[in-house]
Amino acid sequence: MDPGKITSSIQLPGPGDSTLLLQHLVRIQAEFNYIPDKAVADLSSSLGIPAAEIRGVIDFYSFLHLTPRGKYDILFSDSITDHMLGSRELITDLTEKLGVTVGEVRGDGRVSVDTTSCTGMCEQGPALLVNRLAINHLDQQRIEQIARLIEEDVDLADWPKEFFQIDDSIQRQDILLSSMASATGASPDTLTTLLSPEPDNVLDILQDAGLRGRGGAGFMTAIKWRSCRDTAAEQRYVVCNADEGEPGTFKDRVLLQRYAHQLIEGMTLCAHTINASKGYIYLRGEYLYLLEHLQAVLQERRDLGLLANNISGKAGFDFDIDIHLGAGAYICGEESALIESLEGKRGIPRKRPPFPVTHGYKNQPTVVNNVETFIAASQIILHGAEWFKGAGTEQSSGTKLLSISGDCERPGIYEYAFGTSIRQVLGDCGAHDTLAVQIAGAAGVTIPSEQFDRSIAFEDISTGGSFIIFNSDRNLLDMVQNFTHFFAHESCGFCTPCRVGSSLLKDLIDKLHAGHAGHYDINELNRITIIMRDTSFCGLGATAPNPVIQTLTNFPEIYERQVQHTDYEPAFDLDAALEEARQVTHCFGPEAHIKS
């Protein structure tokens, strides 16, 4: 692309709103396959942000690049569930067919192939993104077709439609999903009902219903909304966390795809309750395919008077929603990092306190809730606290959507009342010969079969919904390795223990996985996990060692069978470290090697 054309076609913002930086970058990346220097310079002058800082933002997000990616930029989802479905063989297959190296752009600029963290398609993997659009159900045949389309330079718009088909995969409904089964489109009546109770009343009902956040932490929603409302401010914000980056989770994707109206009803209810006039949906970049649909839903609601001004005929109730796209950074699911990212910056978590409910977006009180939480809130107001409490346990009322993937016959979305046992879930989804279940994602818990009578509940196994099944043919160390790589890749780099520790941990697990570790290394694993757990700045670093801690406790045999009988093994491959010298000196005899 010639630089002149770039400058003329980049529509730069007017002076001012620096919070739009990331959104501009996402758009420029999509248009040019990279962010040209000229664009950085222009954004710098129009937004008043130093160029180095803009490059710092670009360098933070995996989907933004300072040098061109291929015209077809392919990212394979690199989650353990993709691996289990054979993704790595398919990557080799595709790169061989196309003559490109993983991580690089082919010489002619046509294509680049790389891997990316879990894209949230675990029940229909292996999956990839081509120019950020998801293609699932990959197999050799599909890979062959993709290679051909790329070689023939077929415009993405002309690729077979079925490639981009994304299934809903709802396998089991309970009260929440079934209450919405008939109500799908925009419903003025529903919104009128939602907005009729007094805000105080709404808070009381949510409190009575005992609704807790569905994003993982389980904070009481009524308390969050109330403290936001009670904080004096010029402006309050409603933010929907649709970043869904936890490996193995995909229920927000399905909710956004099928129940966008109900989500926006929930956000509107929140705005009305806390007195906010502006909302954001922070949509992970991996779900780009949902953008058009969500925008259409927002527009439809504006057109019907259900969004924007004087909503539902209520004079003075103004509330509108913008969608902000993420750009490949798991940490942006953490609410304070999400807010930084919404403000256009690097997604570095903030010090807490103050919490977002008092000092959030633009330092104003902000409610951040998960997609499922907003939807549950609106359904509670429609159907009553008793309806909700009819399901679940004393401390965990209602239901939870589980995203089930891995070794089972029927992966997909399952809604269960809290208190349901793992054993029942496994039976329902057709899992056999199960070795372990990884619940709550990479930072979650690894449950061995002796504990399958435990249940999904805040008081027992708390989860945002990720539920990955491993049968007894699997080596759990593969999972541990995948997760430690994930965390090393996703650490934001702000604090010492996570920035350094996550990489140390990754290297040690690689060493172990390759069979080069000694018993000493097991102690090292313990040592690093403790430092990370106890001293990290945010939840990512504090929980990143969980896969190691969990498996060391519950599955020590996967470590024992990998360690050498010696205590201490070198930190690196000694003989490989001589290779460069062999090449330079052309000495290749036996004396040019070190025995291990």
Binding site: A52, E490, G493, C495, R499
Partner: protein
């Protein structure tokens, strides 16, 4: 008069005011809590984690945790010192710290805090990252090998000098300090030797040129007394800051 609020730092009773962090109150009381990214002139950052303490049984960073009445803070136990030592060891293996060849040696806060925690080795496997030295500026050099990402220069340049010369790029272990100039070189930035940003680096990353090794060994800032008594390197007259 309202009753004086206090908390316990190990066995000592420390008075504090509303809004104080544990670090603020401890510093005022003359009590030392090891730290690197904290400098009382700037808003607390909380990134190096070296000031980790156990407050009522929870691990927190003293520079960001608000003091609370009757809080019990463990700042000295072996367990806490052990965590700090490990964090320092991580910082040492992350960069390239060749103290025998560093002008800052003897007056380096990373070194001094490491001495304070009895760190005898970096323990972990070294990353040996490839990093550069930027000597393009007439008066100031920056050696990225020694940067510990405390962001004090970033904060000083942004909040005091109002020049925004430094920022952070990348993420995870690839996070790094960058210079805001067209070429990315210090020489092409507006940095001047009198900028606050040049006088806050706790390690030997940002150094004035034309000098170095001007204090004999034995007379350098931390040669005879530990950092707990000497205090931060930035708090001393900059003429003293050099080995």
């Amino acid at each position: 008069m309202p009753e004086q609020q206090t908390f316990k730092l190990d066995s000592k009773t420390i008075p504090f005011r509303d809004g104080d962090t544990i670090m603020d109150a401890a510093l005022r009381a003359g009590e030392y809590i090891p730290h690197l990214c904290h400098n009382p002139e700037f808003t607390p950052h909380g990134s190096c984690r070296v000031c980790v303490v156990s407050a009522n049984g929870r691990h927190v960073s003293a520079c960001t945790q608000q003091a609370m009445n009757d809080m019990e803070v463990d700042n000295r136990s072996d367990a806490i010192m052990d965590k700090r030592r490990n964090l320092l060891q991580m910082l040492f293996v992350e960069g390239n710290h060749v103290c025998p060849g560093c002008e800052k040696s003897g007056a380096c806060q990373l070194q001094a805090v490491a001495y304070y925690t009895n760190m005898l080795s970096p323990h972990y496997t070294h990353f040996f990252p490839k990093r550069s030295v930027d000597a393009s500026h007439a008066d100031i050099a920056i050696d990225f090998n020694r940067c510990i990402l405390c962001e004090l220069c970033v904060r000083a340049s942004r909040d005091v000098d109002r020049k925004n010369i430094f920022s952070i790029s990348g993420r995870g272990i690839k996070a790094r300090l960058v210079i805001n100039s067209d070429t990315g070189k210090l020489g092409d930035s507006d940095l001047t030797a009198t900028d606050k940003a040049v006088h806050v680096c706790p390690v030997g990353a940002i150094l004035p040129k034309h000098r170095g090794y001007d204090k004999p060994i034995g007379e350098r800032l931390y040669d005879r007394q530990p950092v707990s008594q000497v205090g931060d390197v930035a708090a001393h007259d900059e003429d003293d800051n050099h080995g």
